[in-house]
């Protein structure tokens, strides 16, 4: 059981290091409280966004926390892919440049899994292959409209 855990941990750690470097332009890695017997302790994320000295996770900025959390989620995905991913406004703390960086990574990951991403941010909408527009007129029900950006034609 510990062997299976160690294998999973090492794989996710390697993924995390690579993805964190890409998203946060810095160094990050996973750290076990007790590497000899992992089940005695927890798992910590060590993050140096943009080469800043390590600080406790709680003192990172909103944007830094989001990118660190997303790096972890993508690291899990590369180890055990799910068939689909559904993200609801995960870019809400990110500045424009980071939304763009994240959207490029999603574009890349979407070659192996389906990504359904709710977003209000323009760089994210522009990076997608298509947009589903959702509206609700006053006193009416939700209406859904599909826009295929790749074919540049409205459908439905």
């Amino acid at each position: 059981r510990q062997h299976a855990f160690q294998e999973a941990f090492d794989a996710v750690n390697e993924n995390f290091k690579a993805i964190f470097a890409q998203l946060s332009d810095g160094d990050g890695y996973l750290q076990l409280d007790d590497p000899q017997s992992p089940f005695n302790g927890g798992l910590n994320l060590v993050a140096h966004p943009k080469g800043k000295p390590v600080r406790r996770l709680a003192s990172m900025s909103g944007g830094e926390k989001s990118l660190t959390a997303l790096s972890f989620i993508f690291a899990l995905q590369r180890y055990r892919p799910s068939p689909f991913y559904a993200f609801d406004e995960v870019d809400m703390f990110l500045d424009g440049a980071n939304v763009e960086r994240l959207s490029k990574m999603i574009k890349h990951q979407a070659q192996q899994a389906q990504f359904i991403v709710v977003s209000l941010r323009r760089p994210m909408i522009e990076a997608a292959q298509r947009t589903i527009g959702v509206t609700q007129a006053r006193g009416a029900y939700t209406q859904v409209l599909g826009i295929n950006l790749e074919a540049k034609s409205a459908s439905m």
Binding site: F9, G42, A69
Partner: protein, 215 residues
């Protein structure tokens, strides 16, 4: 494997029946505040049994039925159907009847539970019905769908039921098949609005348990 479409009937802000077609790759859902974007993700969680009512921003399940629909009848029903394209899924991942599995020569390795005809193996071209269970034909081995119905009476009592490819099943049967597809209730493949930084604020042990789950 990917979601082909989600069909919502009287679910939250969706009156009537609305089909949301989805393609593989990268899709964005956008629109004004309060229009129903997050409700579409709630519909996925609802149909696949991946969240409690609180996880879908409802105090109790009846809150999920469209309010206009509930007002007008003795029994109101909301349902969501999620249809997957499984044309690239290896047959052994599909839990079928024992006859089904042996007919294809690929006995499902650890099939202790006897789920009802939970899936259609890729090569089946005829319904298997020796024990009276019919595998519906329209899913020609390329589709796999889950439907959940929620019926609410005017007194406020309710029932919720699941079906795979039109055949009733229990929640644990559904979860068992979803697990084989790598879809888990505790999975991190769905991140709801406001939750992205929860990975940072959770305690270290909970975070380690995420890896335990995957290992």
């Amino acid at each position: 494997m990917h979601i082909k479409h989600v069909e919502l009937s009287h679910f939250k802000s969706f009156g009537g029946t609305t089909a949301v077609p989805l393609l593989p790759g990268f899709t964005v859902i956008s629109g004004p505040n309060g229009s129903g974007k997050s409700n579409i993700l709630d519909a996925l969680l609802f149909a696949l049994g991946l969240a409690s009512s609180k996880g879908m921003r409802a105090d109790r399940l009846p809150d999920l039925v469209n309010q206009n629909h509930i007002g007008r009848r003795a029994t109101a029903e909301a349902s969501v159907t999620v249809t997957f394209d499984i044309s690239d899924v290896p047959p052994e991942l599909l839990m079928g009847d024992e006859e089904d599995a042996s007919a294809n020569g690929t006995a499902a390795p650890s099939d202790d539970a006897q789920p009802p005809a939970a899936a259609v193996a890729a090569d089946t071209t005829q319904p298997i019905s020796e024990d009276g269970k019919v595998v519906p034909l329209p899913c020609q081995g390329k589709e796999w769908s889950v439907t959940r119905r929620l019926r609410v009476t005017s007194q406020g009592t309710y029932t919720s039921s699941y079906a795979i490819n039109g055949v009733p099943c229990t929640l644990s049967e559904l979860h068992e098949q979803l697990q084989r597809f790598r879809i888990y209730p505790e999975g991190y493949n769905v991140v709801l609005q406001g939750d992205v930084t929860s990975i940072i604020s959770m305690n270290a042990r909970e975070r380690r348990e995420i890896i335990d789950e995957l290992a």
